[in-house]
Symmetry: C2
Subunit: 180 residues, 2 copies
DNA sequence: GTGATGGTAGACAGGTCGGTCTACTTTTGT
DNA sequence: ACAAAAGTAGACCGACCTGTCTACCATCAC
């Protein structure tokens, strides 16, 4: 029933993430998935609606992966180590469910938008907030400064790993956090 | 002589930064600047060539502004304070020559590209490297870890200020760096 | 004067975009 | 068995895209 719908989301996520939302047309999603155009517009009212479904899927996958990375960590040091080890693996393409690294899908999508106040950009905001909450839950203690440090370094690493092509940047985040 | 050329670059920078490179067509740049299409293609071989010129201009302006922010700082603490005060002003739109904040133009442009290995993405890489060099020159001492910390937090702040709309994030970077 | 240069306006070509629609087939629930 | 739902292929629409081209105008060096 929702078979084709899921296929469309999977195909679109792959294409949108790899090449950018604006660079991939509906027709390409259709030919890559082998689904008819009518079917797409049966499940989604527009390309934008498809994009929202794609972002939701990516969010679920990413949060699931991150939670799994962090679970069972005993100390803050261990949380930090696991987080940035995970990022390192992502940057090097060693996390199958996240695909070949091409930056943060949510950041990239925001960058492609003309409208700063759209539903899409609000969803990206929500995603980043959820990630922060997940990390906050893993860290023990009440230090907002440590949480800020970890989140900002994480974000910096994600950006730098992509734009400056520095795949080993995550290890340097851990180094930075050692002086904390 | 290069009057129209400069006008095209200025207009394109304004439009490309505000709304994204792929969302702005050549015709819009032309009508906004009041220049004829023939003239654009007389000065630039393609939209991509125009984009490169726009990036170069943005690079010059940004580096100039940053150098001015950092000059005359006596200590590392002062460098940090000036850097993140500057970023704060940028995020809040108080730096006229950088325009209303819409993230890092170079990061955004990379995100819009399909091709990871193009001349444009290499220029963005170069820009980030130059910014790092400028900060490295302002900081005294040999600590690569401090340099990493500053650059990664800076990058994290740029991303977070845009995607999560947290304009006051730069001050929290300074807070983080105090524990250093 | 005259030819090179840089400029104007805008038609045009060839293609892609998102989205609608017709006509037909397959699957599925009851 | 049969109707509703979900699927197929693909023509078509109007709009927009980059880039080329014609035809004409203004300036200026020599």
């Amino acid at each position: 029933m929702t078979d084709k719908r899921q296929l469309l989301i999977d195909t679109a996520l792959e294409l949108f993430y790899r090449r950018g939302v604006n660079s991939v047309g509906i027709n390409e999603v259709l030919s890559a998935s082998g689904v008819a155009k009518k079917t797409l517009y049966h499940h989604f009212s527009s390309k934008n609606a498809l994009l929202l479904a794609v972002l939701e899927q990516r969010h679920r996958v990413f949060i699931g992966w991150l939670a799994q990375q962090l679970e069972g960590a005993g100390s803050n040091d261990e949380v930090i180590e696991r987080l940035f080890n995970g990022l390192s693996a992502w940057f090097e393409g060693r996390v199958p469910q996240l695909g070949d690294y091409r930056g943060c899908f949510f950041v990239n999508t925001c960058a492609e938008l003309s409208d700063t106040d759209s539903e899409v950009s609000r969803y990206c905001q929500y995603h980043k907030w959820q990630v922060r909450q997940l990390i906050a839950g893993a860290l023990t203690g009440e230090s907002d400064t440590l949480l800020d440090a970890v989140c900002l370094l994480k974000e910096g690493a994600i950006s730098t790993a992509y734009v400056a092509q520095e795949k080993c940047i995550a290890e340097r985040c851990v180094q930075v956090l050692r002086g904390f």
